[in-house]
């Protein structure tokens, strides 16, 4: 671990003074992502938590050029930037789209599917805090079963999270990765790898959110790691169709010591109304996916 730390680019591209919430998982993820991507990058982002992080005009703490766009249009915006740069022979610039789960799983899916099908040369990042957190914790299709949100305030979310990674896999793009700010080196490495690949790359960041998930702000890393330990967030890469576990998830797969989801669920206020039946369903959902990933890993060997 310590020798890995030295390879992380020293320069900071996110200066102090962001408008993100205390303990924001996205702040950590964005900091390490930009360190990996470096200067020659253009970020495009919709109205989302990242837009809040970027601050209010005329000030921004972010040292990478960025363009705001509308909610449904992030991947199309990236397509336009990439096309414009290609027309001007500036193809060395990395185009990165950063959107939340609402802007990806829900409203942005059409533009993302279109851009991926066209093989647009860009990195699409879905930072998934499992709800419309910017607007006050409303339900999205990425919200897990049993979570309280402000639009599922009594009964909790009744459906499982949309398996978006499968949707992206179906697009047969060259690189898909999952990561978490709880393991910043894993995150950094995946952005470095993605930057070197041409075509559409998709990175899913499981992003703990203290106000939305209702846990103490000091616990962002702990919650993020618990998500990995319980298999709610599985760290992997799919490069040209080859699946492999990475980091902590690889260890868990090898040793078979994945924890029950209750260890993750009990630490967050959003699950306080979850029924035993929902907990069992969530566990079954996690186990199914875990087995599927293990099969894929074995097939890819």
């Amino acid at each position: 671990m310590p020798q890995n730390l030295f390879k992380i680019h020293e320069k900071e591209y996110v200066l102090p003074g962001t408008r993100a919430c205390q303990g924001c998982g996205l702040s950590i993820a964005y900091r390490f992502a930009l360190k990996a991507l470096r200067e020659d990058t253009i970020v495009t982002l919709p109205a989302c938590c990242l837009c809040v992080l970027h601050g209010l005009y005329p000030l921004t703490p972010v040292l990478v050029p960025s363009v705001n766009n509308t909610f449904a249009s992030t991947a199309a915006s990236a397509s336009g930037i990439a096309a414009g740069l290609a027309a001007l022979n500036r193809t060395e610039t990395t185009v990165v789209a950063f959107a939340g789960d609402g802007g990806t799983f829900d409203m942005g899916i059409q533009a993302l599917s279109g851009a991926a099908e066209r093989g647009t040369d860009f990195i699409y990042v879905a930072y998934d805090n499992e709800g419309y957190m910017n607007t006050g914790t409303q339900r999205s299709s990425a919200t897990p079963m049993g979570a309280l949100t402000t639009t599922t305030p009594v009964l909790t979310k009744q459906q499982h999270k949309k398996d978006f990674l499968k949707i992206m896999e179906a697009h047969q793009i060259p690189y898909i990765a999952t990561t978490t700010p709880a393991y910043p080196i894993d995150l950094y490495d995946k952005f470095v790898r993605a930057k070197r690949i041409k075509g559409t790359r998709f990175i899913h960041i499981h992003t703990p959110c203290p106000p939305g998930w209702q846990y103490p702000t000091k616990d962002t890393i702990r919650i993020g790691r618990l998500a990995v330990d319980t298999g709610l967030c599985v760290l992997f890469e799919v490069e040209n169709g080859k699946f492999r576990f990475t980091g902590r998830s690889r260890t868990l797969a090898e040793k078979g010591n994945k924890l029950p989801v209750v260890h993750y669920v009990e630490k967050q206020g959003r699950f306080k109304k979850m029924s035993i039946e929902q907990l069992n369903q969530l566990q079954a959902w996690v186990d199914d996916r875990w087995e599927e990933y293990k099969r894929k890993a074995a097939e890819s060997k």
């Binding site: 200067e39 020659d40 990058t41 253009i42 495009t44 837009c51 809040v52 970027h54 601050g55 209010l56 005009y57 005329p58 000030l59 921004t60 972010v62 040292l63 990478v64 050029p65 960025s66 363009v67 705001n68 766009n69 509308t70 449904a72 249009s73 199309a76 915006s77 990236a78 397509s79 336009g80 930037i81 990439a82 096309a83 414009g84 740069l85 290609a86 027309a87 001007l88 500036r90 059409q110 533009a111 599917s113 279109g114 099908e117 066209r118």
Partner: protein, 402 residues
């Protein structure tokens, strides 16, 4: 030697985009625009146009791609119709708010529900308040010339331009069109210079959130609030009128064709009654005016070419001597009257123009409007005015309203 071709309106628009050396095209097919999108892909794939063609999955993305590409400094083009334009609506505001010189053709078509694939102008009229310049063309030559003019206007004032022409009536009708040489167009239209350069040397975030009030930057310089930015867009649209007039003048000098800047007139000098419309119907009105003159009625035509910004000054001059103004509009502001009628009345306020105005809604969803019908409509309006009727309500031409 003159390069004269017999081509459709869609072909004229595509040819114009090629002559303007557009660098990025993003388009999604919709009747009656499809042929335009197809022509451009043929140009790109056959190497006649060096451009990135992004075959988007919908019109919202078509406009978004144009916004992204224009932001980084590429000259962009798109075209759409009807519900495609409505689907873009959010991005039309975004393009104008971003002050990007995007040029788009709107091949005018009625909007659903219920479905119609045929022509009227409800689609573009419904985008009136998006901050785009709107120019209406009356024939295929004007389409080609206006697209070229549109880039120079847009890139002078950093406001996007919608070049509107009637679906099928122009888009699918072949007419003789003179094509300027690429060299002449390049001389008329210098390369696009973006107002902002996005690069690592000078990082910035474009279009971030603004507070209601002005705010200082890191050096303490007070910067615009949301209202100042909105005012700048409005101010730019006002200034745009001069740019449109200037571009029209220099285009006429360079290519010998003058389509009128903000509006055009036909036999209005001594006219008692002025027929008015936009696009191909205004051209039809000139045939009607000539026929009325043969019957001894002093008729003329004002064709509104630029609908936004609205040509208040030119309108007041053009209608000054008229006793009656008869409008034919291919759209309606539901619950009131045709949008052009309201705008003209507002333009006349305080000008001393007291002409009686009669508004007709005509040709919705492709219903044919013949010059003869315009003649009859004008004669019936004049009879009612002579009979002392003051308050002439909007009339739906050739429509079963019982």
């Amino acid at each position: 030697m003159t390069d004269a071709r017999i081509i459709t309106g869609n072909q004229a628009a595509a040819l114009a985009a090629r002559l303007c050396d557009v660098q990025v095209v993003a388009a999604y097919p919709i009747t009656p625009q499809s042929q335009l999108a197809e022509m451009l892909s043929l140009y790109v794939e056959s190497g006649q146009l060096r451009a990135e063609y992004v075959r988007v999955e919908g019109e919202h993305s078509a406009m978004t791609v144009c916004i992204g590409a224009s932001t980084v400094g590429a000259r962009v083009f798109t075209a759409t119709s009807s519900n495609g334009l409505l689907y873009m609506h959010e991005q039309l505001h975004w393009a104008a708010g971003s002050r990007l010189p995007i040029v788009m053709c709107c091949v005018n078509r009625g909007v659903g529900a219920p479905w119609s694939i045929f022509n009227d102008q409800q689609d573009s009229l419904a985008q009136r308040d998006t901050g785009w310049i709107q120019i209406y063309c009356r024939d295929n030559q004007e389409i080609l010339d206006t697209v070229i003019q549109a880039y120079r206007i847009a890139e002078t004032v950093y406001v996007p331009v919608m070049v509107c022409f009637d679906g099928f009536v122009l888009s699918h009708t072949m007419m003789p069109v003179i094509s300027p040489t690429p060299a002449a167009v390049r001389k008329f239209l210098p390369p696009y210079k973006p107002h902002t350069i996005l690069d690592a040397e000078n990082p910035m975030t474009i279009n971030s959130v603004l507070l209601p009030n002005r705010r200082p930057d890191a050096e303490g310089v007070l910067c615009d609030g949301y209202m100042e930015m909105r005012w700048k867009l409005q101010n730019a649209l006002d200034r745009t009128m001069e740019a449109i007039r200037e571009v029209n003048r220099s285009f006429a000098e360079a290519f010998g064709r003058d389509h009128g800047g903000m509006l055009w007139t036909h036999r209005t000098e001594d006219a008692d009654v002025i027929l008015t419309s936009m696009g191909s119907l205004a051209a039809e009105a000139t045939v009607a005016a000539d026929a009325l003159r043969e019957e001894g009625i002093k008729a003329g035509v004002v064709g509104i070419r630029v609908y936004r910004p609205f040509p208040v000054k030119e309108a007041v001059e053009a209608y000054r001597g008229a006793k009656a103004i008869i409008l034919f509009e291919k759209s309606i502001s539901y619950g009131y009257e045709g949008g052009l009628c309201s705008d003209l009345k507002a333009a006349f306020y305080g000008s001393g123009i007291q002409a009686t105005i009669h508004d007709y809604v005509a040709g919705l969803g492709g219903r044919d409007v013949k010059a003869r019908e315009l003649v009859e409509a004008v004669k019936s309006s004049l009879a009612r005015i002579q009979a002392g009727e003051k308050d002439l309500k909007t009339t739906w031409l050739n429509c079963a309203t019982e």
